[in-house]
């Protein structure tokens, strides 16, 4: 999809497996909110017209009991509890608490910094090499320690997050300096990257293409231009890309 097709005036295209689940809840909420608002508004307008001040018509003196006015509250409470327990928590558990197995997933670490997204792939051995902030340089943005055997096959890219179609991607998210937030609108993925913490998130794309990564948490003067792309390939393309990058690294 081109950006024009992906993004518009309302929710972006749904490019991940859980996007539709989350969107459905947004839809339910907005329909319910619209209904409540219209009912309130209609009642208010009716009252404003029906009970406008007219000469000789006094207001009705009454101290009404409590029960009748509880009906709208009861309806709203029932709706909210239904949303939480029947619809909300299962989806929350699916998106935020149930992670794919490392063996069956594409694994990567995203290390945020002012104002870029560093992507760290563990390579064929599946192990992330050791990192040390003393080793950070312009050629080594995440301070990867080449002396570590696990680091030999690791790949690092900046702002370009390559992932395959057809299997989930498991991301270890962290930050080197301040709090950032990893946001891919088309996937409905968002999670703060907090320094000193390493949290897991996951997503599974359902189409190939390029999807924007934005930073959602104010991280300094370059916050607005902290962006990257998730590039979704077919598995074959992805394997070819990996092989090419490994070869380039070996030449160095």
């Amino acid at each position: 999809m081109t950006p024009d097709q992906l993004y518009g005036w309302w929710l972006p295209a749904r490019a991940s497996t859980y996007a539709a689940d989350l969107d459905r809840q947004l839809d339910v909420f907005h329909v319910a909110m619209g209904l409540i608002f219209v009912c309130w508004g209609a009642f208010m307008i009716y009252c404003l017209i029906r009970y406008r001040a007219r000469p000789g018509v006094p207001a009705v003196y009454s101290h009404t009991g409590i029960v009748k006015s509880m009906i709208p509250d009861g309806i709203v409470l029932a709706f909210e509890l239904f949303m939480i327990f029947v619809i909300g928590l299962p989806v929350w558990a699916h998106v935020m608490e149930t992670f794919p197995e490392e063996k069956k997933a594409n694994v990567a670490a995203v290390i945020a910094q002012q104002f870029a997204w560093n992507i760290h792939y563990p390579g064929p051995d599946g192990l992330f090499g050791r990192r040390d902030i003393k080793l950070i340089s312009s050629g080594n943005p995440i301070g990867l320690d080449d002396a570590d055997p696990a680091a030999k096959d690791d790949l690092v890219s900046v702002n370009q997050f390559h992932v395959p179609l057809g299997k989930p991607t498991l991301v270890y998210l962290s930050s080197m300096d301040v709090i950032h937030s990893f946001n891919v609108p088309a996937f409905r993925t968002k999670q703060d990257a907090t320094p000193g913490m390493r949290v897991r998130i996951w997503f599974e794309p359902i189409m190939t293409g390029t999807f924007e990564i934005a930073c959602a948490q104010l991280c300094g003067l370059g916050h607005y231009r902290m962006r990257g792309d998730v590039i979704v390939h077919t598995q074959e393309e992805f394997d070819a890309w990996l092989a090419k990058k490994q070869a380039e690294k070996a030449e160095l």
């Binding site: 009252c47 207001a59 916050h223």
Partner: protein, 599 residues
Amino acid sequence: MEGVAVHPKAGAHETHPELSFVRKYIFSTDHKVIGIQYMITSLLFLLSGFTMMLLMRWQLAYPGHVLPIIGRFLPDTMAPGGVMLPEFYNQLGAMHGTIMVFLGVVPLGVSAFGNFVLPLQIGAKDMAFPFLNMLSYWIFLVGGILMLSSFAMPGGAAQSGWTSYSPLADLAPPGQTMWLIAMTFIITSSLFGAINFITTTMNMRAKGMTWMRLPFFVWCQFVTAILLVLAFPVLQGGAILQLMDRVAKANFFIPANLIFGGVPVEQPGGGNPLLWQHLFWFLAHPEVYVLLLPEFGIVAEVLANGTRKPLFGFKELVISLCSIGVLSFIVWAHHMFLSGMRTDVTKFFTVTTMLISIPSVMVLTCFLLSLRGGSIHFTTPMLFAIAFLPLFGIGGLTGLPLGFTPTDIYLHDTLYVIGHFHYVVVTGSLIALFAGIYYWFPKMFGRRMNVFWGKVHFWVSVIAMNGIFFPMLIQGMAGVLRRQYDPTAQVHNLPSLGLNKVMTWSAILLAVAQIPFILNFFISLFKGEKSTDNPWNATTLDMAACPSPPPHGNFAGDLTVHRGPYEYSVPGHKTDWSPQHVPEDQLTGRMQQQPAQQE
């Protein structure tokens, strides 16, 4: 008015010697003068925070264009050649939020109206601690001036958002230190005020003023003061810890192995950035209700008066109010669903957040049902109070998908959040505050504000406010994120960017709409039509039992309260308002033709 016992005018002055100009109007301990001082000061802060927002809105609608008029006066460290720098945008954003919340809306709702109205409504001659009250204002003023002057610090004012998240705020330029010091002053001032309000309400009520006879406004101020006393010290503690991180190289919020600007941070770390968020939001969520509850009170007063009937469900309103107060302390982490906090903790906060919406719905339901059976007079304050109902409704409803964890994943940090809380605080709180200004102005100054210009102010403001905030909800649904200096830098923002022009021009319209208000305010101060002692034919003591403006000492002699606060249109009474302090035998008689409401 015949037959209704009105206060004797003499008496109050005799016990108080005449004071010098300075003691009477500047370093005054009179709650009414302090209330008016707070009102003028916080209106000025509101204007300054609004001006900052106009600059930001210009940048959003026309990124990289020269700022009109103001641009050429700004120094090169803020806007070289009149074009705003991203650092300056972030400073304006942080200061807009801070000023509007802590120096604008809260002091106007709590300190200005609370100080002026609360002692009058409970029949007290002044606050319990008049000197502390004066101190509170002057500490507030110092805090406010420090906050504004922080733009002159090297590197400019605070620029890490009004939330000042660590470690960004720990490592920010010196303006952040000034922010923390200024906040300490503002918090101290709030605490002095809150202690005063609680003591005054508990101890200084007139004879017969039982708790259930207190006007709803007093209830709101009372609950608000309790929230302030319990919540603000937590932020004060947090602010001092962050200050220590900055000036004494402590490590409360700085984690280990931090690298900033390409160099390792000298502090060894070991702290936790999430701790700051917990401390901040432990205050800042109750603070949201501090922004709102006094305004509930104002709307209740104006609605009862404008519909000429008792408020619907007074007891229910009080119960809802107290529930909101209690629940507001256990919802704070709904601001942190995506912070990396344990995901099962979030479930607790989702449930409490949904629960707190129930008493809020109750309040709104009671207000709406209060219209039913009324005799609705569309006075200027009443217009604002009526507009509060649907517009605050939008604010409340749009809070639902944000407080609900799965939908918050997408909406968190988008403009949807901004639209939501501006609907709450601007078309909710601020509109109610305008209602309060138009309602109590005659009582404060003894003169009425112009009706025609009041209505112009109302209609243009309400249209402009919706023009600013509704597009935010749409942009938020499109995924546009908050705090973006240049929205064109991201592809997914591009389709809905045109809305920024709508919002910016609506903001300019809102600015223009305040001109009639400001002129009306100051011209009416000197030239307005003289007000009667009970300008709105109201029942509460502030309106019915003292002259306009009330003298030093407020009431002549001691008052006795005979009935509840909103006894309007009581069958068998001569007038359609039955003041709280007038004995029953003076009220009974055939009800007269309704007096023409002065609008």
